[in-house]
């Protein structure tokens, strides 16, 4: 079986790496501290797929996720890459 990119699957929402320069702007817009944002494990298949494109991501990078939502059509969500292992 060839290599499979999870991001291309229909059921996986769009994941984008946020430009390091833009992070501050987004945080200001959301009015939250970075450590209070939801986290995403670096073991997450989506993060691994992003690393294929952008090269290794250090902890603390912000990822923008665009999901299909039954209430608003498309909703944006932000997550911070972390080394923590979630059970």
């Amino acid at each position: 079986m060839g290599k499979f990119n999870v991001l291309q699957h229909d059921l996986v929402p769009e994941h984008h790496l946020v430009d390091a320069k833009e992070e501050q702007k987004i945080l200001k817009e959301l009015n939250v501290a970075k450590d209070l944002l939801p986290k995403i494990s670096r073991n997450d298949p989506a993060v691994k797929a992003l690393e294929e494109i952008h090269g290794p991501l250090e902890n603390g990078r912000m990822i923008k996720i665009i999901r299909k939502s039954p209430t608003v059509g498309l909703s944006t969500y932000y997550r911070i890459v972390t080394g923590e292992v979630f059970k």
């Binding site: 959301l30 939250v32 209070l36 944002l37 939801p38 939502s69 209430t71 608003v72 909703s75 944006t76």
Partner: protein, 886 residues
Amino acid sequence: MTGGISKRINRIQFALLSPEEIRKMSQVKVITADTYDDDGYPIERGLMDLHLGVIEPGLKCATCGGKVDECPGHFGHIELAMPVVHVGFIKEIKTFLDATCKSCGRIKLTDDEIASYRKKFDAMSLSSSDPEIIGLMSKKVTDEASQRMVCPHCGVQQVKVILDKPTTFREEGIKVTPKEIRERLERIPDDDLIFFGLNKEVARPEWMVLTVLLVPPINVRPSITLETGERSEDDLTHKLVDIIRISQRLRESRDNGSPQLIIEDLWDLLQFHVTTYFDNQTAGIPPARHRSGRALKTLVQRLKGKEGRFRSNLSGKRVNFSARTVISPEPFLSINEVGVPEKAARELTVPLTVNIFNLESVRNFVKNGPAPRDEFGKYLPGVNYIIRPDGRRIRVSAQNAEENSKRVEVGWVVERQLMEGDIVLFNRQPSLHRMSMMAHTVRILPGQTFRFNLAVCTPYNADFDGDEMNLHIVQKEEARAEARIIMKVQEQIMSPRFGGPIIGGIHDHITSLFLLTHENPLFTEEQMIHIMSYVNPEKTPVAVVKNGKRYYHGRDIFSAVLPDGLNLKFTSKLCASSKAKCEYESDPADKEVVIVNGKMIHGTIDETAIGPFSGIIIDKIFRKYGPAEAAKFIDRMTRLAVGFISQRGFSTGIKDYDIPENAVSRIKEISDEATVRINKLIETYREGMLQPAPGRSVEETLEIEILSVTGGARDESGKVASAYLGLTNPSVIMARSGARAKMLNISEVAGMVGQQSVRGGRLNRGYYGRTLPHFKVDDIGGKARGFVKSSYKSGLDPLEYFLHSIGGREGLVDTAVRTSRSGYMQRRLINAFEDLKVDETRSVQDTIGTVIQFKYGEDGVDPTRSERGETVDLDYLIFDAEQEVQ
């Protein structure tokens, strides 16, 4: 409890109690297994020693000198003859034995490994890091150490220790005594403890093997005196008695050099007693029992589970100022009211703090005494207690009322009995959503039950087959204000679950208004006045003059309860679905409900208009005019409905299901045809000629085919039957208006009951290859597998009756299983979500501030205020605007 917070918790530290510490805490060394002497006086150095605290009035604590309520109780201790393992630490002890060397006590890691791991552990502080992460790391390290079979420090070959549950350790089949275990644990150096997640400042592993047992204060295990004068001791005391006895016997046997075998037996027995003292449900050992055979409730049992300290006493508490009794209906109360029986009202009180403004009126209450009535014998609120500023309570009686009323001054508190208009909380368990607890205003009524408007049954999920409900009297001004503003029934009409009203007319309300508006009947002035006498309307219906007499249309009577300015257009339930179903409509205007400026132009009122969950009229009134107007509408609407249906009369009986002879024979034909088709299908199957449906086996295909035949037969016969049952039939009226039951239920009564099923398939369980011994083995025909040809009215034959009961049982089992499962799931969800909140920016956060959702529900819309989940209802807004322009 008025002092506020006296101490704040800064941090919590978990540690082990060392034997020295236990001795230091202890006020007395308990050596006697007895409790009281013959005179009933506590024996010195016994389990009820006066140093351990007092529970009997009159005695003084030998430690602190306090009396019953003053002495908090003090610990004692028991010196165990031989050490025993603490069950709570079995897992930890196993890890220690596995990961350390049996001879030198060092952790079985090389010096290099130790150095590198130490660095990692040093990076985290034991007290501030996440305990879960520390646990994970220490598990990794100890696992690695346990793998090693030769000690890297002293080179001794290691032996695998096996835990023989619950408390015995073995090495190559030979028992390792707790004493040896303790010695081994003692050898572990302090510096290695960090790898096990143990803080060397406060804990040593050998303390997990007990040499001294802490005896809890008497206050923890009070003895009770029965009426016969007999003393009954607490379960813990019983257990401690056992422990002391065995410990003593063990000490004697050891000291006079009894055989090793006897000593070991006693030692095991001591281990058993100490184990069950902590946890009497330890797997692998029989629970210690009372003489009566009841298992003892020891330390773990006190804390664990639904009846344990946490769930029963800390998460759930019993409160004062509450009442509970049976509920019954009262259609003449507003939805915002609750009828409280006098008896309850005399016991329940509201505290009034006296100030210069209310001094006179409060004195008047006190003067009336504890059970006042007016000149007609009607209930008036009295006063049970008055409370002086120093906290002393004075009971008010008829004799001292006059005198006490003069003593009341500013600053005193007077506990006034419940009176009309007081705000109270009313609740029915299970409290599954916020509408299970709503605020009502009080009406004092004769009788023994709580009463409320029938429209409020739905949010509480109550009926009157013996349900009981709880009433709570709100005690503080702030709470009363909150109850009035956010918890009152009218504020809760809209459900946050689906953005529509959860309160509305039920059963007869719907039937009644359906009859009132369907085909718009005419009423004489006399009839109209009778009906309207139930209501307290702001408008009177418009009359139509015929032959010089005044008549009133049903829709105009209904319009009298609608607020002016309401514009609404919707399709009623009657014709909401398919056009084919509309054969009853003689008036084409019946299906479209049109209301212009609070006047009903045409249409039929049914469940969609005024029912709970669907009620469009209630919904729009609430949005346009607010909660008070919506409550007023529901009050009037339900009263009107009750008024009309009692004037008209409504009933149903077996006769209503009579259908003509030819219809009965037609239904018989249908069922016979079905049997023939089933038999044909089975024949084809037996011959092997049945073509399987895609993705199914032949057997599955056969079942599906048969199910569609039986389903078709039921629908067909239902159609035949209902062709003779028109909208003049009370049962059909109820079904079509949505008041109760479905058309399916009617066709079951008049037509055919149809195929019974368990788990979606035909009945097939019971005996080998058959459901009952009346059938042949492997008979897969219609009747043998639960096809009921009879109707409820004609009656089922015994076999059909039995098979029908099988199908009926499934429903009962399902509900039982579902409620317990969903209850547990809901508990877990509530515990997970309980302290999440939505802030001003509409983002959802936990207590630390971690964002869970950037916008609540991703759109930031409160479902309570949404139009059934949608942001706006454009059709309505346009219609409303159009009408207002005109």
